[in-house]
Symmetry: D2
Subunit: 431 residues, 4 copies
């Protein structure tokens, strides 16, 4: 995890303190239910909560014990017994380490997903505000990086809004995928622990019951989770790349907010660089890099091997923390984005009206000219403009094969024609 | 696409014939609606359907035209006009190539998803039948490849069933992700085509309307689709690896069906190899390899660039056809899997009762011995068995610190203890 | 493999005909050596060559036999005996299928590497020619997509040349990695085949001897091979993205050659799109997608499992054929690239001299002003230009804190200053 | 970076202290040369070294400055001036931040590569010792997880030794790929810095000169570097998977060393799990996950964008530190591996001599029987053994179509036959 690309609330989910607190809660809730089932004494369960609920578990001490036991959960339980006393021996009855580890991981991923969903909401809010602000700001639509036809800047942003609505849905589904609890014992048979314990702990921890666990919660869930993060990261990349394009010197239709005191370049004082969105482009790559190892983690051997663990120690915090940061950085970029409608208009005018070529083509075919002849006529005149020889409308008027009357031709160059359905699209996105 | 790993029904979706048939339908449905809107003559739309509906489009001829135009949709339209006649000039009015290409791709992916869902159903049926057949067939559960505690073979298969239920849900969601229609013109503004056309074509083609398309359907949808395929492939890999393990010479608890006349090895006539599940392991890698390029495809420039196209020409057919094949091969493996309960029992007995070590541990702690002492006592005797010095139960009886009475010790070695909740789990999976 | 992105010479390497021809050669060379060693009759080896050397092996017949034997090499040998007669029984003595399959795969990959190296040479030749042509064509250097300082277009291309020199070296190393021969029998012990046979076949097939094979040539070699292809593909992507940027409407410093009769868009006749380099961007993603599965193929179980095989049936031809196509397409793009020096100059002038800001900064510090004050002075004036308020040189002259005399300031705006080491760099690249 | 999977010497390379020390050296060496060239005063360069060489740069202070400047190199230079005084203004003349950052990154990667090469040497030493120890320890070779023919354990290890020799060569090449120095100014033109400075700094820092840098060292170098790490990680995975297989309960031919006091499972005291090699399997996935983002980093825009930076802040330390740890962990596993020759022999005998089936096949064909008939005869008897009906040798003796005399048949079951070329292979690996 790269501190520079992290927010404290996301980091906190993955701290030792949080982890041990969750471990204690899982063990103690299980004890409560076991006491109810008569498996352990009620007083033991009560004592565990009384002495443990507000205890501050000592990571260093646990690490020290682990150096002997080489087993993290045993080390934790040993440490708990140092605080809670001998009732601690009733903890973990019939459970296996993974019952604790996997359920804790589920809690951490679910909490991370909540942050990611909140981050997406912030992006959505920024996109909606800016989309409505620029609903009718004309700008050129580009395919292949080449001017195509007019759109509005608001329409562009509405498209991103729709994409981040999907991102949110994917994150909600991803959260459901991993928010499950397994307390099923060494190989998932409940031989030594009643299924009622699992149900109780699940409810207390805000999770669903895992229908069949082996020793572990099946890793196809986690693969689906990280895959969803990879898709969301890719959507971030798309918007980041858009901003970077708009900020290019020759385009300059929008710019990341530039702070007073900020230096764009140590060598070139004139520079204002889209470094935030470039950074987001890189973060997208980093988040995506979790997807393949998460998928490779699925095929654990038999009832489990532990090869997934080291992977998840990396990608668990890294992918969630960096994606959380990226969503919030993106929201900030969009909230404060400097938008230059004048430059948009200037660029739109750059090709001397060529962006209206399709309308002319359609008009010709509707006058009965064949598609092939119409295309040739329009292309012939367009290429002259392309070579810088003059203005598109003028050329069309002069061309005898362009049989549209001059007044009608002029009407074809109306920008409003292209924005007449902006409202239709907006209603789809912002119902 | 590797022919050897394909089924004809999956391949057919991606043939030129299918593609051109879908293209025609999209264009012709659009024409019908345009006629209704008064944009083109009703007779034109009718003539198009009359002459084109059952036409056999000629791929070679279209390729020939494309060599001149360097544009596939224009080549197709030119060819259509050769069959349909001059009314064909009313086709594609105000539309852009991507309207046709992307909507067609959505239809092909949706149909592929239908096959994948059907393949998953076949896997589920095989797993259910075999799980119920072996609901109480005892076998050893293994963590880290090491014997842990008893499970049943049916329970193992029930776990895979639950995983493939999730696979099915993911495929259904994936299908929804990509089953959208865009007929919105050059940059998605509907400048030259009424949104009503899009709605009509969407309905006719069995798709949803894409809320905001640029020139293209946004590629985050496709990234999510292929990511889902990668997760499903990873689940296939897990089951394949399980079978491969069970077929190992030393384990031999199950075996792929072996045909008469089949040769396991050109050099070693005695071999019976798990080649189908090894093949599935490889196919899983191949299907997964589509995930990263699909995610890299998301960040197209502005209203689109065409970098995604070559990628999709590869992964579109390849990932869907290979996954379809893999699901059906896996179903066949499970339907005909040879299961050897005797060998399962033999392996279960191999460690002389060590698999019951946890019960002994629990019994000791419940008699009031500390967890640490209990663990040490059990481990001490277990290590003797591990070193091949004798039988676990005998050692326990002899050990004075193992304070469980002999008769109770024997009862702890009861297999039924481990299967008592099999039915609980089965009810979760097969309600 | 996507036919549209393939060249016949690359495809031919992977045809059934080529494969069976190589299989025959491996088997027949082995027979020759075995005869020399007295393992089989000399007449048998001679008869095999006499009847088989120019035989046309029948793929369909081999497929037919394989449907019974379910084993490709056995099917091939059976078919060979139909042509060669009973002496064919002396073929394959003590060998295992993988001896043939893996050695053949090595030959195919080595031949593919030869094509890739030739393709790289073609790219290098194009880059060298264009670099020398535009050695002193001034253009703006851009960091973060923002104008930085002047460079020359030739210098840019020289950088790509250096990168493709590295690509070539990587391909040569990759070829060495996989060009090995294994004829070592069922588990690599040479139990039934003399190591001398391996040495002989290796030499005849132009390969090195594999020092230790198990049943297979170790797959780390192939992982390294496909990884190298992925790196080369990424270099292609970088140059492709550069061209795409240069062709953007607002930049237009270079353009892909545009054929007569070519149509840029079915809807917009004015479009000239960088479709070849966009295509190369996509192909780079496709080629890279082979890297991860190739790495996942390394950890075969024990002396081999066959999970790698399906992967390699895909990525073997796909990655090599598509990369071969991409290299040649890239070479074509560079050979015919339309370069617009006037537009380069126009863009260079766009910022009113801001690209010289660093020189002014340096001049100020050299006059003894602190770095911080100098930076502030230059940035202050630069920002005015950025806001479109006027000309950089004028502002500097007016600013009292810019203590450089006016004449010296003008000299700082000399373009030649930036090109004085172009020759130095060229000597490094084209020695 | 996961602390648990790191060694201090690898971590130290990536500390702030190390980074700032390298930055200072690069800047100060550049100053020395600039002084020699007369660009800055000699006394300034001398003062910089005198005051800065042993200075302890204060990370917190630099971070504090960066919060204002939003630029790390400027923050560093500002901090240097706080220690060195006003001569510090002569630092960085004509240089750009990337000159420092990229050259520093090259130094860090090169030092990391040195550790990786040393780690590989340790693995090689362990493999050589154990291979020679078990040169003639018989064990069964397995293909598809199924017994094939006898090999020796030493031969298996020799194969891994050959693979790690290749790993070492790949790391050496990877080191060469990235050990380059760029001091070429804002866009690589040396406009404000003499190429002689670059040559001088390169030599002092132990690097090669980068032939053409833009603003940055081209990222195809780094892609090749991380790809090599991914291949090495995959080789680690292969050996790790081998050990995991050998430690399976049913196989138990080798075992990871198991410490006193170690607990295999919190629930099952009898467990001895191959957790180190499972961990290595997971670490291999983690290291490999750096490959794709490194390749995606190549296509920076024009003379650079900064999207690669966040990626490299992650994968730079993570991939090198984890791979360094994995190599050393693997070496430890191999050094202390418990090997069980008795179990190897027991497994070898398990199939009642079936592992000799190929020799019988060859003997039959050499007596003139057709390959097809010979195969059928051997397979027929092998399948009886497979079904547990008896002993292979006995069946063969009884079968009238097995025309080999009984005494000769017995000789065919000689283990020495399979080990006769072990020495040949060893000479290839350990010359």
């Amino acid at each position: 995890m790269i501190t520079r690309y992290s927010r404290p609330e996301a980091v906190a989910i993955w701290s030792s303190e949080t982890k041990y607190k969750i471990w204690f809660e899982i063990e103690a809730h299980a004890a409560t239910k076991m006491a109810e089932l008569g498996v352990i004494p009620t007083e033991a369960a009560e004592a565990i909560w009384a002495k443990g609920e507000h205890a501050a578990w000592d990571s260093d001490r646990i690490d020290e014990i682990e150096r002997t036991t080489k087993h993290d959960v045993i080390a934790f339980l040993t440490h708990v017994s140092e605080t809670v006393g001998e009732e601690a021996r009733f903890l973990h009855q019939g459970m296996t380490s993974s019952d604790v580890l996997d359920t804790c991981f589920a809690v951490q991923l679910a909490r991370s997903a909540d942050l990611l969903i909140a981050g997406t909401d912030r992006v959505l809010a920024a996109l909606e505000a800016r989309a409505k602000e620029h609903k009718y700001t004309p700008t050129v639509g580009r395919s292949h990086g080449i001017h195509a036809e007019p759109v509005t800047f608001g329409l562009k942003l509405a498209g991103y809004h729709a994409e981040f609505q999907r991102a949110k849905r994917r994150l909600i589904t991803a959260r459901e995928e991993i928010a499950t609890c397994a307390i099923s014992g060494a190989v998932g048979t409940f031989a030594n622990v009643d299924p009622a314990v699992e149900e109780y702990v699940a409810e207390k921890m805000g999770l669903q019951v895992e229908p069949v666990s082996t020793q572990v919660i099946p890793r196809d869930r986690h693969a689906a989770f990280f895959a969803a993060l990879g898709v969301v990261a890719s959507s971030i990349e798309r918007l980041a790349v858009e901003i970077r394009h708009l900020q290019r010197t020759e385009v300059l239709e929008a710019e990341e907010f530039f702070d007073k005191g900020q230096k764009g370049s140590s060598a070139m004082p004139h520079k204002r660089n889209p470094i935030l969105t470039e950074n987001l482009t890189g973060l997208a790559r980093l988040v995506r890099s979790a997807v393949t190892p998460a998928m490779e983690n699925v095929a654990l051997w038999h009832e489990r091997d532990i090869s997934h663990s080291s992977v998840e120690r990396g990608i668990g915090p890294d992918a969630t923390i960096h994606l959380d940061f990226a969503l919030n950085r993106l929201a900030g970029v969009m909230e404060r984005l400097l938008v230059y409608p004048d430059n948009m208009q200037k660029n739109l005018d750059k090709l001397g009206g060529l962006v209206h070529s399709q309308r002319v083509l359609l008009a010709l075919t509707q006058l009965g000219q064949s598609r092939e002849d119409s295309y040739a006529a329009v292309q012939r005149n367009a290429m002259k403009v392309w070579r810088g020889e003059g203005n598109f409308l003028d050329f069309l008027k002069e061309d005898p094969e362009v049989i549209v009357p001059d007044a009608d031709l002029e009407a074809l160059f109306d920008l409003g024609y292209h924005t007449k359905h902006v409202d239709t699209v907006f209603r789809r996105v912002f119902p």
